[in-house]
């Protein structure tokens, strides 16, 4: 086969059809970026840090040693064990429980931190002989400049714990004798997730709970370390070398059960999004490319008529599509790397170079180009096999009768000829119209699914703080409750403050948590018959219906004797919406009915009720904080400053936004993936409309020649795309919503409670039940706007060539092929 004529014909085809070539380039670019992002995230989620990033060094195994069972010499000797290549330690280690504000005094702290278990290691420096901890990682730059603790009373938290209190916050170590307070100096990032926080080495002894054994952490790397079996063998050898009972526990990168730093939080949603982007990329590329070739059948026939063989025709079109496709694939790969690297910044490790694996950078563009080639080759080969005349007339001459019925039906409508002709036109070319319809379907379904998944994920992530109001006014830490007079004054100030829409006093009670210092709260609330069941209670002194806790079932309590409970509560008590529960309030039984179940993934079962429900025992209640909502348009910063001045010292006004239970993955990732999905969808729709109109430009000239005005031309063209767009919307909107419904429930139920756990997670699976508002996130207006957006894109795609034809002299249009 002579390459010269083939390449000339291919280049001429690509150059003459600049718009189409541009669309192919854009589609391949966005598709490759989407596919690369998706593949990288899928791979990283499945393989963990070692596969996703270049790790220069780090510990394979972390061993917790009972210090009183082994001597320093015996520990030092372990570094000489066969297979051990490096070791570090011993670093003193202990486990603590921390809480803030109300929870620290036995009252669960809304807007702060409920009792949370942390593994703490004493390290004088973030740099060690075996690993390097990033004391001030860029991923946490939004919290401020982090510092490594350099004196007692300071703590640096691992950013993977998910705790997000402002720097300088005080954490009360409720498990330690004397209720020590640690000031958060920063958030650090370790290569491995063997511990949750770091303090100075000398602090550990003071933090150790009474009666807890002294423990140390030893870190090891081994010559063979890639599988559980190998590490188990190494651990067994280590245990054999130490006295019995010396090894309390161990962890490794392979068996920690964690994926990339940040844990499994949102990972499955990210994967779902990634798969959606990948599927849409494949569908759009196939649709765009095959449509481009089908639209060129006439030209293919002309090529054949002048002597191109079938093989040469196929080669021409492969080459013609490849020119913009290769350019787009390269651009998309670069774009994907540029966008995904900040996300991979989660995996940034000091001294290590973060990159997208080479095999992904090669596989994605090659795979997309292969798909492009296949999508182009199939119709091109078909056209190549046709006789020249058949190729020229293929698709241009409908079979007798096809399309006549739609025209007759449309003609019966009391509409102008241009409108009825436009509406009926797609039916005379069903194959071409199917391409347009498919593009609209894929695009709209993808956008609906993407937009609704994005909203669902954000709602789930915000669920833990959704019922705390926009702002909270709480004691500033020197005390955890407000006296009656203080509460009255605070309430008056809040009520008087311009911008206040709602406010309510919240009392936080805690019971059944044995590690806490015995509660000094005047009211002790528990569940009859289950005194050891940890129970958090939010009691409100007024109307709390506006707070916005997401309900899975039932309704918010609307009177005394009713409560709302968390899913953990129902799981652990066996009681559900509508059931009666007997509480003990200062030892006295109080019967209440469960009005509803709240979506609140939490470490302890939680219930919500009014002061009145606690009956006469409520006389001892005090307010721990006020939850406040602002009127629309009120500046949060301005209101906060003004109210703070009105309240004076002793009470702090702030937002709980930073105390989300979400951890790890940057939610902007979802926005990036949604943008990719939307861009792919738009390109697919635009291209389909463009092709459908472009190949009818000559017809538009004929219409003009027999007397159609420019405005009538535009009207008819709009009607060409309206029909398929309406059909597509009627299918795509319910399809997208159904897919989202199924997907969200599947993802949520597969999380098994890991989605929003912080520290030690003990709660059972909650995920099989989600509030309807977390699933059905798009309202009628949203759906209408999405449908109109799809239609608008189709119209824009069609109007380009149509406007040109309408504006241009008819003789020029008639000469256009």
């Amino acid at each position: 086969m002579r390459a010269g004529p083939v390449l000339r014909a291919a280049w001429a085809g690509a150059a003459r059809r600049l718009v189409q070539s541009g669309v192919v380039l854009a589609v391949l670019g966005v598709s490759c970026a989407a596919a690369l992002t998706a593949m990288t995230l899928v791979f990283a989620a499945n393989q963990g840090t070692a596969a996703a990033v270049a790790v220069t060094h780090g510990a394979d195994l972390a061993v917790t040693i009972n210090a009183d069972k082994v001597s320093a010499g015996q520990l030092a000797a372990t570094r000489h064990l066969p297979g051990v290549t490096q070791d570090a330690g011993p670093y003193p280690q202990t486990t603590i429980t921390v809480a803030t504000r109300g929870a620290a005094a036995g009252h669960p702290g809304g807007g702060g931190l409920l009792p949370t278990g942390l593994t703490v290691v004493g390290r004088a420096s973030p740099s060690g002989s075996l690993d390097d901890i990033i004391a001030n990682p860029s991923i946490m730059a939004g919290m401020g400049t982090s510092r490594w603790p350099d004196r007692p009373g300071q703590v640096s938290l691992a950013f993977t714990t998910g705790i997000r209190v402002p720097l300088g916050s005080k954490l009360t170590v409720v498990s330690a004798p004397g209720r020590l307070v640690l000031t958060v100096t920063g958030y650090a990032q370790a290569q491995e997730n063997y511990e949750d926080a770091w303090v100075t080495p000398g602090e550990i002894a003071a933090l150790r709970p009474a009666g807890a054994p002294a423990q140390d952490q030893m870190l090891y790397t081994f010559a063979s370390d890639s599988t559980n079996a190998q590490l188990s063998a190494d651990l067994a050898e280590l245990k054999a070398a130490l006295p019995g009972g010396a090894v309390a526990s161990s962890q490794s990168l392979v068996n920690t059960g964690e994926g990339p730093p940040g844990g499994n939080v949102n990972t499955r949603f990210v994967l779902a999004f990634a798969v959606l982007a990948l599927v849409l990329a494949v569908l759009v590329v196939a649709n765009v490319v095959s449509g481009a070739v089908v639209a060129s059948y006439r030209r293919i026939g002309v090529l054949k008529s002048i002597g191109f063989t079938p093989a040469q025709v196929t080669a021409v079109y492969l080459a013609q599509i490849s020119i913009p496709a290769v350019a787009g694939a390269v651009a998309g790969t670069v774009l994907g790397n540029w966008q995904v690297l900040p996300v991979l910044g989660l995996y940034e490790i000091q001294g290590a170079h973060v990159f997208v694996p080479l095999w992904i950078n090669l596989t994605v563009p090659l795979a997309m180009l292969a798909l492009t080639g296949l999508a182009a080759a199939v119709p091109a080969a078909r056209a190549g096999r046709l006789h020249a005349v058949e190729a020229i007339t293929a698709g241009q001459a409908p079979r007798a009768g096809r399309g006549a019925a739609p025209y007759r039906l449309a003609a019966r409508l009391p509409l102008p000829e241009t409108v009825t002709t436009g509406l009926a036109a797609p039916f005379s070319r069903p194959a071409r119209s199917a391409v347009t319809l498919a593009a609209l379907l894929f695009g709209l379904t993808g956008v609906v699914l993407g937009a609704s998944l994005n909203s669902s994920v954000h709602k789930i992530n915000d669920s833990a703080i959704s019922g705390l109001g926009q702002l909270q006014a709480a004691p500033d830490g020197r005390t955890n409750t407000l006296s009656r007079s203080q509460a009255a004054a605070a309430a008056a100030a809040i009520r008087a403050q311009p911008g206040t829409q709602h406010y309510v006093g919240e009392t936080d009670l805690m019971s059944g948590v044995t590690l806490l210092v015995p509660s000094k709260a005047p009211v002790n609330v528990g569940i009859a018959g289950q005194p050891d069941l940890p129970l958090a209670t939010y009691a409100y002194d007024g109307d709390s219906s506006w707070l916005g806790w997401a309900l899975i079932s039932g309704h918010w309590y609307n009177g005394p004797g009713q409560i709302d409970v968390s899913a953990d509560f129902t799981a652990l008590t066996g009681k559900t919406t509508g059931d009666l529960v007997t509480l003990t309030v200062n030892g006295k039984p109080v019967s209440v009915r469960i009005a509803g179940e709240v979506f609140l993934p939490n470490v302890v079962p939680t219930m919500f009720l009014s002061w009145q429900t606690l009956g006469g025992q409520a006389a001892g209640l005090t307010v721990n904080q006020y939850d406040i909502d602002l009127t629309a348009g009120t500046s949060t910063a301005g209101y906060t400053s003004a109210l703070q001045r009105a309240l004076g010292p002793g009470i702090s006004v702030g937002s709980s936004g930073n105390a989300s239970f979400a951890a790890g993955v940057d939610l902007s990732l979802f926005r990036w993936l949604t943008v990719l999905v939307a861009a792919l969808a738009a390109l697919g729709v635009l291209n389909a409309a463009l092709i459908a109109t472009r190949e009818r430009v000559h017809d538009l000239g004929v219409f003009k020649a027999v007397g159609m005005t420019p405005r009538q031309v535009i009207t008819m063209v709009i009607c060409w795309v309206i029909g398929p767009a309406v059909i597509a919307a009627a299918i795509a909107l319910p399809a997208g919503l159904t897919a989202q419904d199924v997907l969200v429930h599947q993802l949520a139920s597969s999380n098994g409670g890991m989605l929003s756990c912080v520290g030690t997670c003990t709660s059972p699976a909650w995920g099989s039940v989600l509030p309807g508002s977390f699933v059905h996130v798009l309202g009628g207006t949203d759906l209408l706007l999405l449908a109109l957006a799809g239609l608008a894109i189709a119209v824009v795609g069609a109007l380009g060539p149509a406007s040109w034809a309408a504006r241009t002299r008819t003789s020029a249009v008639l000469h256009t092929e």
Binding site: T393, Q396, A397, P398, R399, A400, G401, G403, A404, Y407, A411, E417, T418, T421, A425, S428, R429, D699, G701, V702, F703, K704, A705, V706, G707, M708, T709, P710, R711, Q712, A806, R807, R809, T810, S811, A812, L814
Partner: protein, 266 residues
């Protein structure tokens, strides 16, 4: 074949077009020039032509002489670079695209060499199209289309698509479409150029019948036989200029003498 007499005022609700041509001339081109690109030779160079109502005029000349350009200007498919074009008293060269479209519906019937039928519409749909655009009721338009298709002998194809018809049959459909609104002028650009000889003769006869019924014809052709048989007058163009404007017989004698190209040595 029975052909209705053309209406000179149109059959639609469109605006009445004004007056401006020389007395007796249905079509008048006055000093018309058309240049497609600066620096290039003009396609038409100060051409002045008048066509009276009821005339059958053939415009002949070699390729690039400006024949089709002249026709496009009369049809309003293009605009002159200079001069004026008046049809039925209306200045065509100054009309907007919208008014030109309305003009084409009612005053002009256009027949193209390659038919230019809408492939998505049936034969009947193609014929009815100008009438429907002009606001004629569907039932009336369908009746008119059926009448024309019957008179042209292709009524059996009324529900077929153009792609399935022969060239001659397609041209008949195009003729029917051009006649549906009883235009004042019928313009034909190489009407037999894409059909076989027999079909070409049949189409030529059709055009003759139309002219005998009073239809004004302006035919672009390079076929001297067509010009001789079916036109009463021949305008010869060369390099964008009129080189002769004679009766058809005179042209036919010239053709018989050797079909000299204008300017060529005998």
């Amino acid at each position: 074949m029975r052909i209705d007499k053309p209406a000179t005022g149109g059959t639609s609700r469109d605006d009445k077009i004004g007056d401006g041509a020389a007395a007796g001339a249905l079509i008048e081109l006055r000093e018309v020039s058309k240049r497609y690109a600066a620096g290039r030779d003009p396609a038409l160079d100060r051409v002045s032509v008048q066509v009276a109502a009821g005339e059958a005029v053939a415009v002949m000349g070699p390729s690039g002489s400006g024949k089709s350009t002249l026709l496009n200007l009369v049809a309003g498919l293009d605009q002159p670079s200079g001069g004026t074009v008046t049809v039925a008293g209306q200045r065509v060269d100054t009309l907007s695209e919208t008014r030109t479209a309305r003009y084409r519906r009612t005053q002009v019937g256009m027949i193209f060499q390659f038919f230019n039928l809408v492939e998505d519409l049936t034969v009947a749909g193609n014929v009815m199209l100008p009438a429907r655009l002009a606001g004629v009721r569907r039932r009336t338009a369908r009746a008119r289309a059926d009448q024309l298709l019957g008179e042209l002998g292709i009524d059996r194809y009324r529900d077929s698509y153009p792609g399935r018809l022969s060239g001659g049959e397609r041209q008949r459909v195009a003729i029917a479409r051009a006649l549906v609104n009883r235009p004042a002028v019928l313009l034909a650009d190489e009407p037999t150029g894409a059909v076989d000889t027999a079909a070409g003769r049949a189409i030529g006869q059709l055009l003759l019948d139309l002219n005998e019924a009073g239809q004004t014809l302006l035919i672009v052709t390079h076929n001297p036989e067509l010009a001789e048989r079916y036109a009463s007058r021949v305008i010869q163009l060369a390099d964008g200029r009129v080189v002769s404007d004679t009766g058809a017989a005179g042209h036919g004698e010239a053709a018989a003498a050797g079909q000299r190209e204008p300017g060529a040595q005998p």
